[in-house]
């Protein structure tokens, strides 16, 4: 384990930023939220628990241009507009978001590999930061995530006056050696003490005892046919906020934008809450909001785990709890369906 006084954080950021782009959570005055921003001299790390937008944007941005086409007479020129091969570092990712990358990897890195996503994954270094003040909406522990021991290429802790860093991957080792001049070797006493302290808080999390046992492949049909979907989804606005703030939602649409003298083919996030999601010639197979709403939770809690060795595609970050305009969310769904099962 390596350490650096918090007072020297700026030197660390400057050293990293001298070789590549460095992103970190920064307080945004207008919104009152923390958001990832590019570091430059004068930018300071936010103290907020997490960013409003998740960290998935770094690998799976909300919109990205895939390719351009230019038409001239009968010829079509295909123009490669790819830009996703810049090296970058994301500092301060929380344990839940770090786990979300594993979930996205299973989708985008499976055959056929999504080369846009893969390039970004390869060029990005993730430095995580352990949580010390979880929110009431946090339930990452339910999914076996330890917020006091976050994953990532490098795991980080801010305990007392010091930052502690420990590499988990080759990329992480290389990152630490690139800034080794600033780091000193250290034992992990302070980190252990902080972990013990935060674990006491984690025990008190109101959603820490959500029971996932009913959500298993054998129960697929029973859950699918539950009578509860109707009342749970009754007030849903079909807005898609829950999917867009979610670090693990992975659905996208590919569209062509006619610029007048060519085509820009882009992809953008999509949401199973939308009426045109997976639309086919005859329309959306999910006719009403009840089925669309059910899809979101069945996917996270049953379909995805059925295809991925039991791993749920929710990391308990709590963003959808805080952001749904009608305060309907995955925690309420888990409780309601669990009561029934």
């Amino acid at each position: 384990m390596f350490t650096l006084p918090v007072s020297k954080l700026n030197d660390l950021f400057a050293a990293v930023a001298s070789t590549r782009k460095l992103y970190l959570p920064v307080d945004d005055e207008a919104s009152g939220h923390a958001e990832y921003k590019v570091w430059h001299e004068g930018v300071t790390l936010s103290n907020a628990l997490n960013t409003a937008r998740s960290a998935k944007d770094f690998f799976f941005p909300q919109t990205e241009n895939l390719v351009d086409f230019k038409m001239e007479g009968k010829t079509i020129e295909v123009i490669d507009t790819r830009t996703e091969s810049e090296d970058f570092v994301v500092f301060g990712v929380r344990a839940c978001d770090a786990r979300s990358f594993d979930i996205l990897d299973r989708v985008f890195l499976a055959e056929p590999v999504d080369s846009y996503y893969k390039n970004r994954r390869e060029h990005g270094v993730i430095v995580t930061l352990a949580c010390t003040r979880p929110e009431e909406t946090c339930f990452c522990t339910v999914f076996g995530i330890d917020p006091t021991n976050p994953a990532g290429d490098v795991s980080g802790w801010i305990a007392g006056e010091n930052l502690y860093l420990s590499a988990n991957t080759e990329k992480g080792e290389a990152f630490l050696s690139s800034v080794s001049k600033l780091l000193a070797e250290s034992d992990d006493e302070a980190v252990k003490a902080q972990q013990a302290e935060v674990k006491e808080i984690l025990k008190k999390l109101p959603l820490g005892s959500l029971d996932l046992t009913p959500f298993k492949p054998e129960n697929l049909l029973k859950l699918f046919d539950s009578k509860r979907w109707k009342d749970l989804s009754e007030a849903c606005l079909g807005c898609g906020s829950c999917t867009f703030v979610c670090p693990t939602c992975q659905c996208y649409d590919i569209r062509d934008f006619d610029t007048g003298h060519g085509i820009k083919r882009y992809r953008c996030w999509d949401s199973c809450m939308y009426s045109d999601f997976t639309r086919m010639a005859h329309g959306n197979p999910r006719l009403t909001q009840v089925e669309r709403f059910r899809q979101r939770f069945m996917h996270k809690l049953v379909y995805y785990p059925s295809n991925n060795e039991g791993i749920y595609s929710c990391v308990g970050c709590g963003r959808c709890l805080a952001k749904c305009p009608i305060s309907m969310n995955i925690a309420k769904v888990i409780k309601a369906l669990g009561e029934e099962a």
Binding site: P206, E234, A235, F244, D276, M328, K332
Partner: protein, 325 residues
């Protein structure tokens, strides 16, 4: 008030006058209240709620609910009745299928406002009408209710119900001396460049989640232009700042003259974008150019933007007000 409401709802359900009740349902942490439909006395007893934290405007749900078999009872706060009445004016709600009970409101406590004071880990939040008690993972605290209300309630435009079949509690009055245009005036006083900067800073945070549009009672089109591939304005995600601005500008124009200033758009925006300021600019302009007008106040009166009179302002007003030629 809550017990009176449950009592009336039960009576109306039992007599068969209404088939269902639309109200607010309790959540996990006091503040996470969900609009809900109740069909039995048991459901009402177990989850129906009305308190200082019931922020959601239930009027838009009546578009769908009024098309169901039998009458639907809905509880509306004063500001919600303006949205309801505007929807009636637009022929979106089948009035004969709705039973409206107006309920009093002296301002709602808003969890985001409370969070903005720095409190985190809020497990419970209760209000006695004067003081809000907040219990968090890191200790308890209290604050005055006024400090826990969002801007829309601080600047409430009316405590009066403009449409109802029955009222519970005391009827209030229009609040004439609210300060809802103060921030609009500040933005008007900016230079065009400052103003552009202000809005870019706000709108650049938009994640196009559509919460503002979908919650808005004025946004009730069967198919929104942004969801319609044939419209030429189809747009699921903004690819650049132009499209980011465009969505909001088009939406603001489309609700102009119909927006009642219910404040739901700003309440639900996950990115805390002050969308109400766009709508209030239109409201203020309509007031100044066509005479005082409050959308939703009167379901029978013609709206200024839909009515032609010889007194109407000329388009050249733009230059007189300092716009560029």
């Amino acid at each position: 008030m809550q017990s009176e409401m449950i009592k009336r709802a039960k009576e109306l359900l039992a007599s068969g006058e209404v088939a269902r009740v639309v109200g607010w349902k309790a959540g996990e942490f006091d503040y996470d209240i969900t609009p809900g439909v109740f069909t039995t006395a048991e459901e009402l007893d177990s989850a129906f709620l009305y308190n200082d934290l019931c922020e959601a405007n239930l009027s838009k749900y009546m578009i769908a609910q009024s098309r169901k078999e039998g009458k639907t009872l809905v509880f509306l706060k004063p500001c919600d009745t303006y949205s309801f009445s505007q929807l009636l004016k637009e022929h979106r709600i089948l009035r004969e299928n709705v039973y409206v009970i107006g309920v009093p409101c002296d301002g709602k406590v808003d969890v985001d406002t409370v969070k903005a004071t720095g409190l985190t880990g809020i497990c419970s939040m209760t209000s006695d009408g004067e003081t809000v008690t907040v219990k968090t993972l890191y200790g308890d605290s209290t604050m005055s209710k006024a400090d826990a209300m969002s801007e829309r309630c601080i600047n409430c435009k009316s405590k009066k119900h403009v449409v109802y079949d029955e009222l519970l509690g005391e009827e209030g009055d229009v609040v004439a001396d609210n300060h809802r245009f103060d921030m609009v005036e500040k933005i008007e006083a900016m230079t065009p460049d400052e103003r552009f900067e202000f809005w870019r800073n706000e709108l650049s945070r938009c994640i196009r989640c559509n919460a503002c549009r979908n919650v808005c009672p004025a946004c009730s089109c069967e198919k929104c232009v942004f969801d319609n591939e044939q419209s030429g304005a189809f747009n699921k995600g903004a690819s650049d700042s132009f499209e980011e601005n465009m969505f909001h500008i088009i939406r603001a124009f489309h609700v102009a003259g119909r927006c009642t200033d219910c404040g739901e758009c700003s309440r639900v925006c996950p990115q805390n974008i002050p969308l109400h300021l766009l709508n209030r600019k239109f409201i203020k302009d309509i007031n100044e150019l066509y005479g005082e007008y409050q959308a939703g106040e009167n379901a029978d009166e013609r709206a200024p933007l839909n009515t032609f009179t010889t007194e109407d302002v000329e388009p050249s007003i733009v230059y007189e007000r300092g716009g560029k030629q």
